[in-house]
Symmetry: D2
Amino acid sequence: MAPRTPKLLVPIDLKKKPWEQKLPLHNRWHPEIPPVAGVKTGEIFRVEMVDATGGAIKDDNSASDIKHLDLSTVHYLSGPIRVVDEEGIAAKPGDILAVEICNLGPLPGDEWGFTAIFDRENGGGFLTDHFPCATKAIWYFEGIYASSTHIPGFVTYGVRFPGITHPGIIGTAPSMELLNIWNEREGDLEENGLKSYKLCEVLHSRPLANLPSTKGCLLRKIPEGTLEWEKIANEAARTIPGRENGGNCDIKNLSIGSKIYLPVFVEGANFSTGDMHFSQGDGEVSLCGAIEMSGFLELKCEIIRGGMKEYLTPMGPTPLHVNPIFEIGPMEPRFSEWLVFEGISVDESGRQHYLDASVAYKRVVLNAIDYLSKFGYSKEQVYLLLSCCPCEGRISGIVDAPNAVATLAIPTAIFDQDIRPKANKVPVGPRVVRNPDIPRCSYDGNLPITKNPGATG
Amino acid sequence: MAPRTPKLLVPIDLKKKPWEQKLPLHNRWHPEIPPVAGVKTGEIFRVEMVDATGGAIKDDNSASDIKHLDLSTVHYLSGPIRVVDEEGIAAKPGDILAVEICNLGPLPGDEWGFTAIFDRENGGGFLTDHFPCATKAIWYFEGIYASSTHIPGFVTYGVRFPGITHPGIIGTAPSMELLNIWNEREGDLEENGLKSYKLCEVLHSRPLANLPSTKGCLLRKIPEGTLEWEKIANEAARTIPGRENGGNCDIKNLSIGSKIYLPVFVEGANFSTGDMHFSQGDGEVSLCGAIEMSGFLELKCEIIRGGMKEYLTPMGPTPLHVNPIFEIGPMEPRFSEWLVFEGISVDESGRQHYLDASVAYKRVVLNAIDYLSKFGYSKEQVYLLLSCCPCEGRISGIVDAPNAVATLAIPTAIFDQDIRPKANKVPVGPRVVRNPDIPRCSYDGNLPITKNPGATG
Amino acid sequence: MAPRTPKLLVPIDLKKKPWEQKLPLHNRWHPEIPPVAGVKTGEIFRVEMVDATGGAIKDDNSASDIKHLDLSTVHYLSGPIRVVDEEGIAAKPGDILAVEICNLGPLPGDEWGFTAIFDRENGGGFLTDHFPCATKAIWYFEGIYASSTHIPGFVTYGVRFPGITHPGIIGTAPSMELLNIWNEREGDLEENGLKSYKLCEVLHSRPLANLPSTKGCLLRKIPEGTLEWEKIANEAARTIPGRENGGNCDIKNLSIGSKIYLPVFVEGANFSTGDMHFSQGDGEVSLCGAIEMSGFLELKCEIIRGGMKEYLTPMGPTPLHVNPIFEIGPMEPRFSEWLVFEGISVDESGRQHYLDASVAYKRVVLNAIDYLSKFGYSKEQVYLLLSCCPCEGRISGIVDAPNAVATLAIPTAIFDQDIRPKANKVPVGPRVVRNPDIPRCSYDGNLPITKNPGATG
Amino acid sequence: MAPRTPKLLVPIDLKKKPWEQKLPLHNRWHPEIPPVAGVKTGEIFRVEMVDATGGAIKDDNSASDIKHLDLSTVHYLSGPIRVVDEEGIAAKPGDILAVEICNLGPLPGDEWGFTAIFDRENGGGFLTDHFPCATKAIWYFEGIYASSTHIPGFVTYGVRFPGITHPGIIGTAPSMELLNIWNEREGDLEENGLKSYKLCEVLHSRPLANLPSTKGCLLRKIPEGTLEWEKIANEAARTIPGRENGGNCDIKNLSIGSKIYLPVFVEGANFSTGDMHFSQGDGEVSLCGAIEMSGFLELKCEIIRGGMKEYLTPMGPTPLHVNPIFEIGPMEPRFSEWLVFEGISVDESGRQHYLDASVAYKRVVLNAIDYLSKFGYSKEQVYLLLSCCPCEGRISGIVDAPNAVATLAIPTAIFDQDIRPKANKVPVGPRVVRNPDIPRCSYDGNLPITKNPGATG
């Protein structure tokens, strides 16, 4: 029996663009994207990946790359990978594909990442009405730790924390039937959002859904412009939201030793992965909010035959309305002290919402940003930090009408100062300035920005 | 210096009703409810409390007490307690009151609790359209562990878990100004919910808010029916939702060693506490979803003078729009293995919602209920279990339009069988039957119950 | 089914001496000490206990009670308790008695404890040649936390830590056969220690073993001086060391939720418990080194019939040469940061010992004491602290001749200052003096005290 | 500021012998071994290393390589590395060198390791009188997990656990003065062990110390046989034991994110490292007891000027009698359940020893081996397992004469069966046989093997 050296299935050359790679990548979900490679259950294999933007964001002190990022191209994924069992029989629709994450990390030579706030006209983020400007922070890695010159410290190194590294995206290829369901329901939202869904107008400045578009579409080696490409590009789902196939789940603890149980919709399962995060906070609030990086995964697959029927109850009109299951690995940083903020479903204008966890979560994130900004950080710095540090966002109460209660727990050890409230607050000492200017572009959009009495932007 | 024996400030006689106690309780928030006792900062004191219902629910095998529970009376609180500093100067509006939980537990002689689903016509719960029937489970405590004869096991004891015991409610008295804000905004929701808030009609079968009502109102020793009582009862806020003063926060980790930083709105702070939970899952989904019990707290207070201005930024039109902060204690059960479920903001009818964390959370809870019901439990049993076991409900993604992603992580160690998906599922063994019938009342209400293809009730 | 209210089996009146209690205590191991009570498997019962010295040590600022403590009386135990199964059949020799700790804590009204260094002529401790003087520290409890006015702080409260409360002693009654084995082997050590065991002379100032003695002996209600008392007192084993029956194991993590698997040597098992510790460091180095207190246990028993043969292999000449097994409970403080000291088996005179873990452990404790004394504490204060705080003492290497390596890991969170080595050490600030004088008696013994170049006393 | 890509300081070619490497290795401690490279404080650099035996042990099913291993060659170390500060000034004697472990792991392509029992005539181990035969187990790694075909399972994979990977050896070069101290004290032990140290004769079959020897000595590129080589080889200390310079500390938690504070004895510090362990149990009881492997470290250095005087109190006749300090990293596997065994200082013949932690530790390891062998494993398998799995060996009591109490805590999650004692033991199921024969050589030595009544070999 040989050692378990992972077989390199998808290599990445960091000097090349996603479409120039030896095994070109893709950035859409569609059953007809041809597999990049095949793998047997039990084998350990290595998949390398570019960052979600395919290298568009640079390690520098300007946010203009963020401001002008072409969002139609994200996320570049490695795959699809076709899975067969030890007898060579492919995974089948109705099976469950269990994928274990044996190892993962940044690509050697590329030990850095970025966290960004998108411009309000270009995707924005959870708090875009408070923070409309494109902003970014660069993070450098020292093994398990990340720190940023853009969030400088007071006593020593500034903010520094161990990352819980994970792939933001892992998912199986949808069947055409499932793809149609997605396109129909998301199209309906996009079309009828203001009318039937009664969403408030200000939101509609941003797209309600991300529908298929040929613009920016990469389908591995299928030549752009061909009939095949046109057909697939017009049907293929964007990778932005998480869906029944897994996809952009952004589960911050899906790290080393974890196992993902994915439903299989097409022969071979054809799973893809990408959007590597060095670390992320629950909710990934600034949208481009994790520490985005290139990276690698070492994986092992198992097929649970007939597992969908056995384990996954559809919660919707068809047997396809299911969701993956995850098993969290045993290797995580121990944090002993947490400061916890709370938000209720009353918005910044003082208006009461009915058990709305999204409003409560917005409130708690705003509360935490304001609190921490009293310790010498700018609000943008804290917004970026809460997007990417290992903070836990919980739904604490969802039943006590009319207030949903959300909480956000932040490990105090990530700061180089004591951030707890106290009777005699120690004044913030002389800052260890390393880079006082956080990269930021001004906002020149057309949308009016909320100016609530409590607004913080 | 003497040992730190806690001074008994609020005693409870379990044989008496809340209004018969030596120091009668209250079940409303109002600045004019007279303090039950005073305490100095630094002192350790003991506050005993009845369960949220004041003893209305019995340790038996019938759910009829749940079905007919008079919700106008919950939650019975111990307090208000007036706090002064070591010089005898009272806490003032604008201060922060820091309350440390030194110890807590069930009341001796009363080591049991209950978890319930309310009837759909009487409050319901998060999944009331799936589970409209009044149901309950009785839990017995063995030190830190709880187990229930109503959720029997297969191998040994059934489900058994260590509780993270905490008070569901702790809060300071609101000022009249804050009380008016509450009544106005909640009244507006109640009145204009369907119209302005565009909520779907089916929800309106349940009250949108819980407005002041004289019915069921208990105001310590102020005699019912007097002018003073009438005035206060008509103004006083219900204790159902968490608000700016803390209140019903239901933060499941607010256990021994924790510290709560509460804003002070009235002279003396006048804080009250109650609604003791032996254990609760994030969200407390079945509404009466924690393991509700009587209990005691041993507390110590500190005043941070001027702390509101220093630490709490208002997020709304007035300086009162703030929220408490919490510090979580160091003593918690270690769980090494978690199974994590996922839900997206597509509802059971297959309809797409826009970044709606409440819908995503509903989906993840339904997914988990269905999954676990494959291991020999009824769906009601799992619904009750997920309401009260130490499961973690997270907002994993809130930005990737159109899907919010919620996750629910369940520690696998609470089961006496292996609940992970596997290629060769072991058949569920002969059940160790102790009480196969979970107490349940039939639903005879008027509201149509959702009958989605994926519905599970 | 009734709630699990523990039945009070052994009550303690703190105003009375151990022999005046309603159910008098005992301080020896012998099969003929009559049971104090009986209990059925599955029942939850409460056992209260005095502290190990039976109240001889006072909450004051003098160490003279420590200096003159009559060690012939420790430890006062509650029990023996006879265990029968649900059919009323007693535990039998060869069975295993599994005892679960459901709950535990200090006795209400007595929330304090002490840690002491014995005088070198009166028992001494692990470092008696460095610290020959009787010393003590009083600790006060605030729920899970302990702090001491005798180990004052610099910034806030001084040293403060959550206790992992546990009984120092829990054990079953020995059979006469086992008792004879004990008395023979310990007598042989006492008699032939210097000769056959080649122990160095200086040690022999302290007794090598603690043999049976009628002095100080308490045997529950058997009247002192009677024939029965004389016989038993002359045979009964002292409670000082841990042995095959469990006894004084001092396992610092044996806290709430733990389970002890004890071998049964006599009909009914007849187990006793006592020597409650609010907290202890591994090794309990100062001998009276835990935070000693009165307290209570709530327990539940199970009998594993024939378990000794099934699970416990004798490691010695008879089937009685076995040891208990323990299962650690899930509820412990999380500490995220540890500073770890190291010691090797080279003693303070520079002499090399061969793979001697005791020497290595002495070295590591001395190293830690010296290090921490650089942060403003006296060495006695640190010695007391390391005896009782939740520090972990490990045998890291026991094979790499000639050095055994021992390590001592100390959670940094227990200090109110940063105790890590750093390039620019912050000077120790003005002390928050509360009681600068640690209670201490001078040493007026006859034994020469080691004066090694590296000695630290 | 560039990303933190580690600079490769010491590369390893796995196809070459230690002395054939581009930068040859060394296996002794001596101040005159020339540095292999230099590094600045703050830089991140990568050091690769062969396994302790330099590749002598093979991934096969025979233990003959273990039986005939030439122990004079271990451990091959990478280094010495000379450290200077940012101004280029070297670390000086009296400074502290702080080394942070940023990352570590097996070498790519070499994801396996071995655990072995040495033949009694060739080093033996902690339990050599019970287990005299050379034995080995091969482990394969799947990311953080290790499993062995030589310790097969019953239900699924057999024993499998996440490793806490660490370097067994890290240390600074000794000065000649310190080297002389070592050679003198260890020579004295070797010479006078039986006489002055009163060690029992049977032990003396194994060397009491490992004194300098030219045999097997490798001193980087200094040619063997030259005068320089002869001089150094005759003086240089073996790497077997841990000492004042750190060295073979075998601290099992010294993993990613940890920091080592090493005393500096020579200009430049000249630190070396090696003996990588995928995982180790406290004590590394079988001597070659960790999972030994090749590997890499990514490190960062800091110099604390004058740190020895500031932080390290000598505990011996000279200022050199110090020990390193360690800070444990935050990233470790969470284990929630531990089974704990206990041993007292009574040996297998029933003889009482006086507070001897080494004897107690031997007893607890024997107890654990026997217990676990009841679950279908052979005793050799368990002995190997306890040497390398993340079990914790504690000194629980060291003061209660005459018994030292040692405990060994084993995380139950590493087994694929429930190993707790229970009333109705489930019979061990059909084994998932993968390799029933553990590689083992017969013992043909001359030494009588202990045959105690309780002996287990």
